[in-house]
């Protein structure tokens, strides 16, 4: 009872504080920005750790304005609508989506010489084949994701999860889900082709034939699938509700379920899979480019910050030694056996225009079938 009273008192206190917060409008609070200027960031929920943000603001006097976004397409649309005078300095784009932003002149090349902490990034990510385009670096890698097969360990065995075929087996009919766009790349890989389509850049006919083959496969398997989903939250909910027992997913959402104690496990099946990397990018014509570099250098400073991002998102940190700051369960949900990692390759953007020119209509056709 006394606890309840305490809570109520605290509630009243908070309510009063809220009233005060409501009474001073945002633009007034914004106008009181600190002397160091500001930096404007578009990013996902929890990608900038709150503790880091506070410390950065206190030390540099630069006010950090964060605008939460929920997908890449919206960032692209918003930025495209704002150009040539964007309101943003730093965006969060996945490595294989760079090209689209670069082609539309939305990103500025990253001058890594201005980042003293660039060396803190694991070279697997900072020097990878996808990261250099037109001779420039375009983003600072922060988190790494991959396409995995996630399964309910109470129903599906570890053995079964070693192949993508299980996802299309009659045994789990009506209990599977996947993102079609991503699945198209994986199916091409599974059929022995290059899912990035870089190999077929000079042979559009071959590319079209491969996409057609993958499309026919997914149409044939359509009666078995429960749901074509789009967002990680949907996948998690389907698992929790036991509407599905296995499915393709990104490792981040799956790791979050594992860390919450749900009987889930992930694998990179032997046919292989794709990985991608979230990067912080500087917008072309960024209004506070200098502050943006200060921010990037600060956030790359310590593996502890990388670990904090991993804890919040479930994606794997790109920072060297970040894993030493993780709990055992968190380590488990963000690491894979070496032999499975050997099956992984990164998405590449070079052939994207051709690839998505073929894949997007195929996806529509699968949905319509």
């Amino acid at each position: 009872m006394s606890k309840l009273i305490y809570n109520r008192r605290r509630f009243l206190g908070t309510a009063a504080a809220t009233g005060a917060a409501l009474a001073s409008p945002f633009y007034l609070r914004r106008a009181a920005a600190q002397s160091g200027g500001e930096v404007n960031i578009w990013t996902y929920n929890d990608f900038v750790p709150a503790a880091f943000k506070e410390q950065f603001e206190a030390e540099t006097g630069i006010k950090v304005n964060i605008r939460l976004v929920d997908d890449q397409g919206k960032q692209f649309n918003l930025l495209a609508a704002e150009q040539p005078i964007p309101t943003v300095d730093i965006m969060t784009v996945a490595g294989h989506r760079f090209l689209q932003f670069i082609d539309s002149d939305l990103l500025a090349p990253l001058d890594t010489d201005r980042l003293t902490n660039w060396g803190n990034i694991n070279p697997t990510f900072s020097e990878s084949d996808w990261s250099t385009i037109n001779g420039n670096k375009w983003g600072a890698p922060i988190l790494s994701g991959m396409e995995v097969l996630s399964y309910n360990t109470e129903v599906v065995s570890e053995e079964e999860a070693q192949t993508w075929d299980t996802l299309f087996s009659d045994k789990y009919s009506g209990q599977t889900a996947y993102i079609i766009q991503d699945m198209m790349s994986i199916i091409m890989l599974k059929m022995g082709y290059d899912g990035n389509m870089v190999e077929y850049m000079d042979d559009p006919d071959k590319a079209a034939q491969i996409v057609e083959e993958a499309k026919q496969f997914l149409i044939e398997k359509k009666p078995l699938v429960r749901k074509y989903y789009e967002g990680g939250a949907e996948f998690q909910q389907m698992m929790v509700n036991q509407d599905i027992v296995l499915g393709h997913s990104w490792n981040g959402p799956a790791a979050a379920l594992i860390n919450d104690g749900f009987p889930l496990a992930m694998s990179i099946p032997r046919e292989g899979s794709y990985g991608f990397v979230y990067t912080y990018n500087i917008a072309n014509n960024a209004p506070n480019a200098d502050n943006a570099y200060t921010f990037l250098d600060a956030i790359l400073a310590s593996p502890e910050i990388g670990a904090a991002m991993t804890k919040a998102s479930g994606f794997i940190s790109t920072y060297k030694d970040a894993s030493q700051y993780l709990s055992d369960l968190e380590k488990k949900s963000t690491s894979f056996p070496e032999e499975q990692l050997a099956n992984l390759q990164f998405f590449r953007a070079e052939a994207n225009e051709m690839k998505y020119g073929l894949v997007d209509p195929a996806v529509e056709a699968i949905k319509a079938a």
């Binding site: 509630f11 945002f26 964060i66 939460l68 704002e82 979050a256 379920l257 860390n259």
Partner: protein, 267 residues
Amino acid sequence: MNDRPELFRGNRIFLSCIYWAFVLYVFVPLILMILMGFKDSKFIGFPIRSWTLDWYKGVFDNTEVLSTFGYSIAIAVLSTLISVIVGTWIAVLLEGRKFLGRSVMFGMTVLPALVPGIISAIAFRIYARYLGIEPGMGAIVWAHAVHNVPFVVLVVMARLSTLPKSQIEAARDLGADPLVSFIRITLPYLVPAILGASIFCLLLSFDDFVRSFFLGGYEPTLPVLIFAKLRSGMSPEINAIATVALILTAAIGIWAERFTRRMNKES
């Protein structure tokens, strides 16, 4: 109100069953939502193994959520005021009048309601830049107001079409000028429709994600915040936020109702 209850008793029982079934239909998901806010896990859903108050506490500890709520309410109220004034005006122009281009005018009036959300958001964003409107609260209010006008027009026109012409004519015969007869006769008759339309507008604005996202600045509205949080999973936190927002809106609604009633009594 019914002098002869025996005549309609059968109907009455049948209909009240339907009513309460409907209440059940709309409230069960709501109750589930409130309940899930107490789940001690990062994901909503059954079974609930242990319970916690932390999610609800977190909402009050986090001033961001509450100020976001205030921001959304302010936007909803301002945009509704504009929509209602403009919408009623257009409805008065359109209803019961024959003029050249009336159907064109009607078509253009309902336009914003017909455009899919994402398209209208981007169209508004581009057009805002063309007009020189900065992204932020003003831009969101503007977009919501424009988008909601058609709903006001439709509702007000429906009510207006049943206004007995004789009343207006009587007022005119007695010498009332058009403005006075509008304010003294038409407007009071329209009050229920205007209230209903206001509820629509408030709801549409309060629940809008896509326009708020594209036209907003760095301060999120409540749906924008929820969408961003949803990306890292549908956690009980979101349910707690939605529940608290619901209780606060209900409180404001009741207060507003009392307030208007008192005002009416005084005048």
